[in-house]
């Protein structure tokens, strides 16, 4: 289980990453965050954002149109 879940379903760009960043800023190193998104563009954006901020994208999956990203703060 992730330490924190950020639900951005139904929100369009840039809100999913705006919300994820806000949550990430309050996390400790080693903690994980699960982000839920229905935005199709979010896969490429999340991958790039997590890399850019020096964190780790542990896993990602799509289920019934909902993208699930598990991010670990390093």
């Amino acid at each position: 289980m992730a330490d924190i879940v950020v639900d951005t379903k139904g929100l369009a760009c840039p809100m999913p990453i705006v919300k994820a960043k806000k949550a990430m800023d309050g996390m400790q190193s080693g903690q994980t965050m699960e982000v839920l998104s229905t935005d199709k563009g979010s896969l490429n954006d999340f991958t790039a954002w997590v890399k850019q901020t020096g964190n780790e994208l542990v896993s990602h999956e799509v289920e019934n149109g909902v993208y699930k990203f598990l991010v670990k703060k390093l």
């Binding site: 369009a12 840039p14 990453i17 490429n44 954002w49 850019q52």
Partner: protein, 383 residues
């Protein structure tokens, strides 16, 4: 003191097209992620473009302000439009006065069609080129005596319908020069909606699931009472059925066989090795026998440098035999090598797109948009 308005202007895809046609100066800040930007971006004669993903700007734009010209028109672009509004507002707050965002983002840009008149026909009719500037696709409307034929119709069929309705023309024919692999054809859909005839070369139609009329060499298609002849010429190579059209003895619609700056690739529907000989014969024998004064009107362009002064893409056939790198290869074995060994990456989802155009797949509107993302890459010299 009054509070500063921070709302930014929307620029429509039509306004951006006009600006690019006029070769005006524009600074584009593209805030998509870098991989999407590198795969496909807006280009123009006097466009300077820079990529900074929006997620690098969440804490503000201060760090990038000095990279953006203060006195120039600035357009912020993203995939849909949400992130570009977000960034454009921050730029406006930071003091930039001429900032807009692209309405509908790259999605709208990919779908925009700009009709441009190419020229008149001898009896008072005319031919229009519909430029899909974001993706490099070209389609045509030939009109005469109140009737119209649409060639290589794109998916956005409402644009042709509205344009014909505005001028009170009746669309009687839709014609595909070949089974397309880089974009979804609107030819069959438009013909069915308007009770028009849909034409397709038989050799490209072996697997189609719908009815069509056979586009065959020598069989003229008439538009209007004034008999504008559309004369098909069998020109295989890009596909085995590819057929070109000569309109009014003047305009030469080459489909994806011959472009202004390149030639068609033979590998999207089968094996390059099998069709390269056909392609060579089409370009170096069949087309060469045609009059040099013909105005070549292709179904694609590779990039903005092929756009003419009014936005049209065209060239004299005789000039292409001197300037087009695909028509000036002296030796057939060298031609075979270039055409089969130096091909650009294949267009996005091209196999699925072919299935859709055969009527075998019926994706939703949104899935169709996804399939068509990115540049067309139908020519051998595309990157």
């Amino acid at each position: 003191m009054m509070e500063q308005q921070t709302s930014v202007k929307a620029m429509t895809a039509h306004e951006l097209t006009q600006l690019l046609f006029a070769q005006e100066e524009l600074f584009i800040l593209d805030v998509r992620n870098t991989s999407d930007y590198e795969a496909w971006q807006i280009e123009g004669h006097r466009v300077v473009s820079m990529n900074i993903p929006y997620f690098d700007l969440l804490d503000g734009v201060e760090a990038v302000l000095e990279k953006i010209p203060v006195k120039q028109k600035v357009l912020v672009v993203c995939a849909k439009e949400g992130s570009s509004i977000f960034v454009a507002e921050m730029l406006a707050e930071a003091g930039f006065t001429d900032v807009s965002y692209l309405q509908g983002g790259m999605k709208a840009w990919s779908e925009h069609l700009e009709p441009v008149k190419v020229g008149d026909l001898r009896d008072g009719g005319a031919i229009y080129q519909f430029v899909r500037i974001g993706k490099g696709c070209l389609s045509y409307m030939i009109v005469s005596g109140g009737e119209a034929a649409v060639v290589d119709t794109l998916r956005m069929t409402d644009v042709y319908e509205a344009f014909a309705a505005k001028h009170q023309w009746t669309i009687k024919h839709t014609i595909d020069t070949h089974l397309h692999a880089d974009h979804i054809s609107g030819g069959k859909k438009l013909a069915d909606r308007l009770d028009a005839s849909y034409w397709l070369p038989e050799k490209d139609a072996e697997e189609v699931t719908y009815s069509y009329r056979k586009l065959e060499e020598g069989q003229e298609i008439q538009v209007g009472a004034t008999k504008i002849a559309i004369l098909p010429i069998y020109s295989p190579g890009h596909t085995i059925g590819s057929t070109s059209l000569i309109v009014d003895d003047t305009y030469f619609l080459t489909g994806d066989s011959l472009f202004v700056a390149s030639i068609g690739r033979p590998d999207l529907a089968g094996k390059a090795e099998d069709w390269v000989g056909d392609l060579h014969n089409t370009l170096y024998n069949r087309y060469k026998e045609l009059p040099e004064h013909l105005v070549v009107l292709p179904a694609h362009f590779g990039n903005y440098t092929e756009l003419g002064p009014m936005g049209t893409v065209s060239a004299r056939l005789g000039d292409l035999y001197r300037n087009n790198p695909g028509l000036t290869i002296a030796d057939e074995s060298e031609f075979r090598h270039i055409v089969t060994h130096h091909l650009p990456p294949q267009p996005n989802a091209y196999q699925e797109i072919r299935q859709v155009n055969m009527g075998k797949l019926k994706p939703s509107e949104e899935e169709q948009q996804e399939m068509e993302v990115g540049p067309n890459r139908c020519a051998i010299h595309d990157k």
